[in-house]
């Protein structure tokens, strides 16, 4: 077993050559058997590995050669930047038209360390954004920092273009931007947001939390088409009478929903700070000012509807009561006279029709200051209005309610209220006497919000008839819109300047309701400092400025609102609007 083959068996072997040691020859026996078994196991393992490698090799061939393109699905996950759901919900109008939305507006930044060819990248970027300066961009790209903004707030198209450039090292940073597709049209209602998308004005500020919490869009009561009509007609009044500004609102008298609210001059909420090219002299604060909810005005004669309603509701006057308006009233340093003076005894319908200050003052005195104050408080004119926008103005009224105040408040001087409060109160006078809070958020149809009965339905009916008389025969004839039975009241106030009234500066306003026999909508239009023109024969009063505008507005919006025209001379309507105290006599006969 241990026999070793002699290594000098070869006689020719050179002397220095020694054959390498050789594995011992294992003789047959149990040791040899064990060795054989080892060999066969090794062979088996080799075959096994060969098979596995063959499988792997075949699989590689299959994946690379046979499957080709579909192998992409096994690539590592590639993260495309996808904008998250916006943090602020949309605002839409009552028909679902978009008023404000949040769009992804990414900023593009570069990591100059990863930019391979700064000169080439600069050339491409400047070509894509002509507003960038090539030396600035090149300086940024070669600055050696790891983060430089190239351009903030891209539009989707610009983002697409940057992607098309395909420059490595450019990245997007997710940012959001509030967009107002309708621009100036709803500026004062919707408001605008700041750089961090928190509300700065209007609904955006008033309902800031709601907009952040909600997922589904916030639907306003506003109707964009009506808003457009109102704005266009008010702008026309401003242009025709070279006025300083105007305001107007349209309200559903039965639900308190505001369908349109316009204050001019206005601003573009997309670029709130940018100067207005049409009015370069106007400050941002002037354009931001919401005359409907923040501005408080001595509205003048349109206030007489409240005086008459108060007197009728308390029973201190009836429609047949008469008051002597032949002489002006002198009280303290004031003289109360009539603009459209008749210089005779007037009854209650005539006081309203001819807008007699003397008559209204005497009516209010007959009722007394206590009742007048109580009534104005009841119809919500002595407190700030409640509505969803952030800009709310508190009324100004005398702390001590003296006789002179009673008289002047009777025709709308000495008390300043917001046009919005006025509209809510006026709606309550005609809708059967229910005062509802004005709202800019759409109410479910058919469900009028809870209101408060402030005057009796009978007084409300009388007020409707009287307001119809004003348009039929009184100072508001130009507000008539054939077929839509408009009723209303004109008001021309002298503006307060310091401690006294200015004769030349007017605030003309008109409140109209249609159809007055079954009130549905209220239109309040107001123009600030109109100047007479040729067409108005030297007048800048409400009857010549905003009353015709109201007529045009009503004729344009009524078909949109589904109000059917009626024959105004039909017996039913004549009967419904006949004033009892006149007993069939013609107005002119009085």
């Amino acid at each position: 077993m241990a026999a070793v083959q002699p290594f000098d068996d070869n006689p020719c072997r050179p002397r220095h050559f020694k054959p390498p040691p050789c594995a011992p020859v294992v003789p047959a026996g149990p040791a040899r058997q064990a060795l054989e078994a080892c060999r066969s196991r090794l062979f088996f393992t080799r075959v096994l590995f060969a098979c596995v490698f063959a499988v792997v090799a075949l699989r590689i061939v299959e994946v690379v050669v046979l499957e080709g393109g579909s192998a992409q699905s096994h690539m590592p996950r590639f993260r495309m930047p996808v904008p998250p759901v916006p943090a602020r919900t949309d605002i839409v109008d009552r028909n679902g038209k978009l008023l404000a939305t949040t769009l992804d507006s990414p900023s593009v930044y570069a990591n100059p360390k990863q930019i391979l060819d700064p000169a080439d990248a600069t050339r491409k970027l400047v070509k894509a954004f002509p507003s960038l300066k090539s030396e600035d961009v090149y300086a940024k790209l070669t600055s050696g920092k790891s983060f430089v903004y190239i351009k903030r707030r891209l539009t989707p198209r610009e983002q697409y273009e940057v992607n098309q450039l395909g420059i490595p090292g450019l990245q997007f940073q997710h940012e959001e931007r509030r967009v107002y597709p309708d621009g100036t049209l709803t500026a004062h209602v919707v408001g605008y947001t700041g750089i961090d998308n928190s509300g700065f004005a209007g609904i955006e500020r008033g309902l800031d939390d709601t907009l952040k919490d909600r997922r589904d869009p916030l639907q306003l009561s506003l109707d964009l088409r009506i808003q457009y009509v109102l704005r266009e007609e008010l702008q026309r009044v401003i242009d025709d009478f070279t006025a300083k500004g105007a305001a107007g609102l349209i309200m559903d008298v039965n639900s308190g929903e505001v369908l349109a609210m316009v204050s001019l001059p206005d601003f573009d909420p997309n670029y709130p700070g940018a100067p207005d090219p049409d009015h370069p002299t106007l400050s941002f604060a002037d354009r931001m000012f919401n005359r409907n909810t923040l501005g408080v005005y001595e509205l003048g004669s349109i206030f007489k509807i409240f005086t008459v309603a108060m007197a009728l509701d308390y029973g201190t006057s009836t429609l047949a009561s008469t008051y002597d308006a032949s002489h002006p009233i002198n009280i303290g340093r004031f003289t109360i006279g009539d603009y459209h003076g008749k210089h005779r005894v007037l009854n209650v319908p005539e006081i309203l029709m001819y807008s007699s200050n003397i008559g209204a003052a005497k009516m209010a005195m007959a009722a007394g200051g206590q009742k007048q104050r109580e009534f104005l408080s009841r119809i919500g004119l002595l407190k700030a209005p409640k509505i969803e926008v952030a800009e709310i103005g508190s009324p100004h009224f005398p702390g001590k309610w003296r006789d002179v105040n009673v008289m002047t408040i009777a025709f709308g001087h000495g008390i300043s209220v917001t046009p919005l409060s006025f509209a809510s109160a006026a709606a309550a006078l005609v809708n059967g006497g229910v005062l509802r809070q004005a709202t800019l958020v759409r109410q479910p149809p058919g469900q009028a919000p809870q209101g408060q009965q402030v005057i009796s339905p009978k007084t409300s009916e009388q007020m409707r008839k009287l307001m119809r008389l004003v348009v039929e025969h009184g100072t508001g004839t130009m507000a008539a819109a054939p077929g839509y039975v408009v009723g209303g009241k004109t008001g021309t106030a002298d503006k307060v300047s310091g401690r006294h009234y200015e004769d030349r500066k007017l605030l003309s306003s008109f409140v109209g309701v249609f159809p007055i026999n079954d009130p549905k909508y209220l239109v309040l239009a107001m123009v600030d400092e109109p100047h007479p023109n040729k067409q108005s024969h030297g007048y800048a009063t409400a009857g010549w400025t905003v009353a015709p505008a109201t007529s045009r507005i009503v004729q344009r919006i009524a078909p949109l609102l589904g109000v059917d025209p009626v024959d105004e001379s039909s017996p039913e309507i004549q009967r419904a609007l006949a004033v009892d105290s006149l007993q069939g006599k013609k107005i002119e006969a009085y």
């Binding site: 996950r77 759901v85 949040t102 989707p156 309708d182 457009y228 266009e232 819109a481 078909p559 025209p565």
Partner: protein, 199 residues
């Protein structure tokens, strides 16, 4: 015996191992697909938001008004154009005796064809301003006697004779004399082409 048991367990272990890997990869693939779909949906949603905003911008009343002024010249509905009940809608006029031919001279047609003015009657009755392109020869006649005699077949118009001169004022005479295109537009493009051609 032991060897068979070992073999059995070996096979079982490797089978479960393979199965587990298979399932794991399947789940991973599904998760990938889910993530991809979610991302695609979010991207799609964002696209929709952008398009919505764009649509709102392109259809704002200001733009529509300007486009209307440029292409259509539609004006707001006036009260007398509105018919609110079925009874207000006028009856269809009797079919014309002869197809309405284009007049060479408005007066000549009015006197020569007293029974073929069906086109004019509903329009004149309602006072609806019609497109200048429709052939309405009768109201435009400068002399009322032949027009009235021609319209005697239409009693509705005689109730409101004031309608005819009003319309005559509204319609330019040259529009009537001009050879108009009586055929109806087949498509909206056709209509727009017609309107563009008429100005």
């Amino acid at each position: 015996m032991i060897r068979i048991a070992t073999l059995f367990w070996l096979v079982l272990v490797s089978a479960t191992g393979f199965a587990m890997f298979g399932v794991k990869y399947q789940v991973q693939a599904l998760e990938d697909e889910l993530a991809r779909t979610k991302r695609a949906a979010a991207a799609e949603e964002h696209e929709i938001r952008v398009l919505d905003a764009e649509w709102a911008y392109l259809t704002r009343p200001e733009t529509l008004d300007a486009m209307n002024r440029r292409f259509l010249s539609l004006s707001p509905i006036v009260t007398k154009q509105l018919h609110t009940t079925a009874a207000d809608i006028p009856m269809r006029p009797p079919p014309p005796a002869a197809p309405p031919t284009l007049p060479e001279d408005a007066v000549a047609v009015a006197t020569a064809e007293p029974t073929s003015p069906p086109n004019a009657s509903p329009n004149a009755q309602d006072g609806v301003p019609t497109l200048a392109a429709t052939p309405t020869p009768l109201p435009a006649t400068p002399e009322p006697p032949p027009a009235l005699s021609a319209l005697r077949v239409m009693p509705a118009l005689l109730e409101k004779p004031a309608g005819a001169p009003q319309l005559a004022k509204a319609l330019p005479v040259k529009a009537v004399v001009k050879p108009a295109t009586p055929h109806r537009a087949k498509s909206i493009d056709d209509l727009i082409a017609q309107i563009m051609a008429s100005r």
